[in-house]
Subunit: 332 residues, 3 copies
């Protein structure tokens, strides 16, 4: 596997300072890159790594141009507007050039039920199951062992990782004298274009209407999306997130790992939820929201946790002290 | 897909006020239902939606009878004792009438090992794996891509969603000079009747005895049930819940999404755990239990979290103030 | 299924007090063991169970020797150095003797891509997928329905439970005017020897370098390991844990169920994280760390949670009281 620097710049742009015939054998982090390897600097805080890297070529923004060219180990650089974005596109070029693209077609071990419509350019991996009347759009890739339930629709250029389950039943029951009566989930799942869904992530079908994932949404692994949810475009969620049923999440949101959003809530556009934080009320104002217990040494946590369980009392005691102080003041 | 209102009332009961020949083409929420669609009102707080709905027919309780009949848009209603339960049964009728029932039999792509006994009325989906000597009861449905390990037993009328793993090894190791020595998991899993298990949920086999899930239990997606657990009948757990090994959970309990129950605990019947709450001690009294950090704007959370780490000190300071006040009082 | 006590002692050592011809039909907990069954006492706190057990033979440490021999119900005992470890090895012997070992070879329903190298002694279960150029080591067992992505490497004597996904894409995107540009994940996953990976657990491939799981690591079910992570040898993690990308976790660590470790952190060797605790900073000192909200009755939690959101204010009020008390003292 290799690419000439010149080929890269021709495909992706950027201003090359150095040898366009240099052969790149691998993309690598600054710390471990070798002279035949290409690296990149995205985070300005990591700039000190530039001086020490052995990378034959580095991708940098304009502000790092001089630092990149004055490296003690020598080597070339490509100056670009947005090194992170450039690097992303370079990984795509690299994967394409080295045969990483999925082949169109349905693997013979996959099971496709009657009425399913799969675009000729889509790739359905080994041991996938596509239910009846499901639809898979152009250029979409299902890695091996994915389930797409009946009547679910996946748009174009989506990528679904192994083990994902699209269109399992939503969790709906009516109570009946202590037991639970099944509410058949008659809706489906509708997924837009350019959506990525992680390994073993579940998106449940709606009870009556469909669960909807809009264009450009990115879901990491082991995420649960309950029935009837609506997730706005370009929202991204990290691993282990849970979204309970009928939540309506805006566009351009992010949810950190293991964040949890309860059911029937509305989250505005541009809301950012920290990892492991629990959303129990609707959030109508864009912003950054957090709620988890800070980590501590166990012995200290134990003392604080015990106090926390009586914090309401503590507030009352402070209130009495404040009242008493006023009394004392009056007496004085 | 359609059903006459008369057919519905004939099958499920209820008092129809209106045209029994009205053809229903879909079940739909009040907000979006059209004149050819049937809707329902369960939650009395949503009663204001009744006036505005376009639904051709609505299912209501007796208290909403007048409101349902005086809708400005007209339309019929079915008056029933319990609209939620009626609606559940209507979804079941709808699914049955429209071919939603799983066909009995074992899909040819499923792998069934020697000695497994599958009831003739059960339905084993595509790409399932059933281990040796496992047993699957009458009317039980395994959606595609389910694993049932060797010797595990699933009762009658269960529904197992795609990706679920019944009978993976419990997590058991003996420490051995810093390394871990495998404890072979010699038990199995026993699941009662009318149990539903969600997509990608895992129920581990017991170490010596079996892990037991009693009749009527409902588990949502991405739940972990550790080895040797015992879950009482009609208990329901929402997505992303974890139950560590050897926990004994009563009947008629509920656990909210991402709730976590540690190992070797006993939970009484009729205990309700809020979402994202961590159970670290046995709960012997029925009731509603909660424990998670409330969400806040990030900047406010940061200040509170920092203070929380010194809350024990704060209590000491209040104690000293209280002691001092008594001193001041004495002096005065 | 049965084994003579003499056969057990011959294979595993220990000092038998009793009849070596006694036939053992099952391994069982002290509480439920029958006269033909073998039990064991690991936890000294459970010693009171010894007196009541019906077990025909019990495994005990030297300190429990007398108690084991003076059981009112009679029965034999095997005295060993480490009953927990002995019991682990006994379960292994039991499984081997009773046909529990996986057969070497690739199940005909598994899909193995070109270039994958599978050791002849490895066992690849039904409906597994092994990507091109992957490698599976000697004696390793993949239960049914496991995914091992292209170029991923699994060492010797590993055990991968059903539904696990090794080598799904890491979650990497560059922001691009509100949308997300895919960073192709060009690395792979390297797993050492004697590793166990639980059901539906995901280990993502690295972006550039590989994600590394060292020898002897044990991961329970439904765990998420992000791209570029490095997990040191003999570290164990319970179910539902999440480790975000590029975390570097030491050797001999433990993480309790649903613990969460954020990205790019370093965790030293011998660090123990409690269940449901969130690690947001690097931990460079061995020890036991905790951070979760203690469970409470819901009504009490509600009061405390409300106070918690104003705890920073409370601290300020205490500060003012302290200042005021000094004032009062001055005046007095």
């Amino acid at each position: 596997m290799s690419l000439k620097v010149g080929t890269i710049v021709e495909a992706l742009g950027g201003q090359l300072h150095g040898d366009s015939d240099r052969l790149i054998t691998r993309l690598a982090p600054l710390e471990t890159a070798q002279p035949s390897e290409l690296s990149f600097l995205v985070n300005p805080r990591l700039a000190p790594l530039l001086a020490g890297t052995q990378a034959g070529c580095v991708i940098v923004g304009a502000a790092m141009h001089d630092a990149a060219r004055q490296r003690p180990n020598g080597g070339d650089c490509i100056v670009v507007d947005d090194p992170h974005l450039y690097f992303a596109r370079l990984t795509q070029l690299w994967a394409r050039e080295h045969g990483g693209a999925a082949r169109p077609g349905v693997h013979p071990s996959a099971v496709v039920e009657d009425g399913a419509v799969i675009d000729a350019s889509a790739s359905i991996g080994a041991l996938c199951f596509i239910g009846r009347d499901a639809r898979i759009g152009a250029g979409t890739v299902l890695k091996p062992r994915v389930t797409v339930g009946e009547r679910c629709v996946i748009g174009a250029r989506c990528l679904i990782q192994s083990g994902a389950v699209i269109g399992g039943d939503g969790f709906g029951f009516a109570p009946n004298e202590g037991t639970w009566e099944k509410i058949e989930q008659l809706g489906a799942v509708r997924i837009g274009d350019d959506v990525e869904i992680g390994a073993n992530t579940c998106v449940d079908r709606g009870a009556l209407d469909d669960t909807v994932i809009e264009d450009g949404v990115k879901l990491d692994n082991l995420i649960q999306i309950g029935h009837n949810c609506h997730i706005g475009r370009h929202t991204a969620m990290a691993g282990c997130v849970g979204v309970a049923g009928s939540a309506r999440i805006g566009a351009y949101c992010t949810v950190g790992g293991a964040g949890m959003i309860l059911g029937h809530l509305t989250i505005a556009d541009h809301v950012h939820i920290s990892s492991a934080s629990i959303v129990t009320r609707s959030i109508l104002k864009p912003g950054h929201y957090t709620g988890f217990f800070p980590l501590d040494e166990n012995s200290n946590w134990e003392k604080n946790a015990a106090t926390l369980k009586r914090i309401h009392e503590l507030r009352e005691r402070v209130r009495r002290l404040e009242a008493g102080r006023r009394d004392v003041g009056d007496q004085a």
